[in-house]
């Protein structure tokens, strides 16, 4: 049985690739098919994946603000809140931006550089 973390990743990959809302049942089938495609024992385990497990994963992702449920439909259909690219951009904004806490949250190899410093460094590279 894959860990919840791996399942979360697999579910997000499906939602990001699919571009449209999907029910837990559809997602379970897709997950089972993709693990079966990888073949061997993993395929067998994929078939055992319960819909309740997928729902657990979805509710965890919902709590993290990564997926949302369509209101009014039953069974619920789930979709990604924003695209993979948007989330990457969000992360990079956190890393490269100038939020006051940033320096305490993570340590960057290179902090903020001004354009003139970058120019000097480019010249340095050219001469070395």
């Amino acid at each position: 049985m894959a860990s919840l973390g791996e399942l979360e990743r697999a579910v997000m990959d499906l939602l990001w690739a699919g571009h449209e809302a999907a029910t837990a049942n559809t997602l379970r089938d897709l997950l089972a098919r993709s693990t079966a495609a990888q073949g061997g024992a993993a395929g067998h385990e994929g078939k055992d994946l319960a819909v309740t497990t997928v729902l657990t994963v979805l509710s965890r992702l919902e709590k993290k603000g990564l997926v949302e449920r369509e209101r009014g439909t039953r069974p619920h259909r789930y979709q990604a809140v924003s695209s993979r690219e948007d989330h990457t951009a969000e992360l990079m904004h956190e890393v490269l931006g100038s939020a006051p806490d940033r320096e305490a949250v993570l340590a960057r190899f290179i902090g903020s550089v001004t354009e003139s410093e970058a120019e000097t460094l480019r010249k340095l590279l050219g001469h070395s």
Partner: protein
């Protein structure tokens, strides 16, 4: 014990104003970042201790010959409703201020920890979904992004070093190794604890020049310490090239963000510049110039002297607060 409170007050003011300004302009910290780091910590701790101590000693002056006796008398007033007539308005004011400042510092420290941890957890959650494991080791992941970016996200056993596709493409294997060693040094030397403490110190007393100067100095010193670790296994030229490639690559595509950051930094740097001189250089510039034209580390004697000053800074307020009680 009256003179004790004056002495502590003077110490607090000296450590809050002239000392950090002088130290932030000094050039020797680049030669010995470790010693400079210890000194900044001593200044912060001794400064806070003497600030609180001065008010406490002053406020307790009428009820006890020393701090311990004073605290016992104060406990009597609070717990057993003993008469408080001995304390005048200013004494009560100083005691309340000492209590509030202590609570404020502790609370800010905890709040900052909570805020930092929350941001890191969110960041780790997204990384778990977006980044893919790298060949460079278990704690290293790669994220799909074009600018050359490398950073580490501390978190105990879940600490992770993140590299971007753009970085992997731009660097030679040796340069990449230098970057990884540098980031790993941050994690193994627990630099995030220093960053946390100094971020909280600044958050708690943002109007005090020492807190901003200390945080900026610490941010830059940890980079030098990590560079020094990378230099043990990789050549100086490799490290300089890695820094130059990442820095020149990360400035260009950001555009507005960098202009904005530079504008803000420029605005805040105008104050210390007033006295003349070129002003403090950015961390990256300092790092490169220190690698290009290295100066010898501090002589053993000088280093020992600075460390002795650190010990003295911490011992003095502590001794002034505690020793009279033990002697009397």
């Amino acid at each position: 014990m009256f003179w004790t409170s004056y002495f502590l007050a003077v110490l607090a003011i000296v450590l809050a104003w002239p000392v950090p300004i002088l130290l932030s302009r000094a050039r020797w910290p680049a030669r010995d970042p470790f010693t400079a780091m210890v000194l900044w910590q001593a200044i912060g701790l001794a400064g806070g201790l003497s600030m609180i101590g001065a008010m406490l000693v002053y406020g307790l002056e009428p009820v006890g010959d020393n701090l311990l006796a004073g605290l016992c008398a104060l406990a009597g007033m609070v717990l057993f409703a003993a008469p408080t007539t001995a304390l005048g308005f200013w004494h009560l004011f100083a005691l309340s201020a000492a209590a509030l400042l202590t609570a404020h510092l502790v609370f800010t420290l905890l709040l900052t920890y909570y805020k930092i941890e929350r941001q890191r957890r969110r960041h780790r959650e997204l990384l778990a979904l977006l980044a893919s494991p790298s060949d460079d080791g278990p704690g290293t992941v790669v994220i799909n992004h074009d600018s050359p970016v490398a950073y580490c996200l501390p978190g105990g056993a879940r600490s992770v070093t993140v590299l971007s596709d753009g970085l992997m493409a731009a660097l030679e294997p040796a340069e990449l190794r230098a970057v990884l060693i540098h980031e790993n040094a941050h994690l193994t030397q627990r630099h995030h604890l220093l960053l946390w403490a100094f971020a909280a110190w600044r958050q708690a007393l943002p109007w005090l020049p020492t807190t901003r100067l200390a945080q900026e100095a610490v941010n830059s010193l940890i980079e030098m310490l990590a560079d020094d670790v990378a230099l043990k296994t990789e050549s100086k030229a490799t490290l300089i090239k890695a820094i130059a490639i990442v820095a020149s690559g990360s400035a260009a595509p950001q555009g507005a963000a960098v202009v904005e950051a530079a504008g803000l930094a420029g605005a805040s740097l105008q104050l210390p510049d007033g006295a003349g001189g070129a002003g403090p250089a950015s961390t990256t510039a300092t790092r490169v110039s220190r690698l290009l034209s290295p100066r010898p580390p501090l002589a053993g004697g000088l280093r020992a002297a600075v460390l002795a000053v650190c010990a003295l800074l911490l011992a003095m307020p502590t001794a002034l607060l505690i020793v009279p009680g033990l002697l009397g």
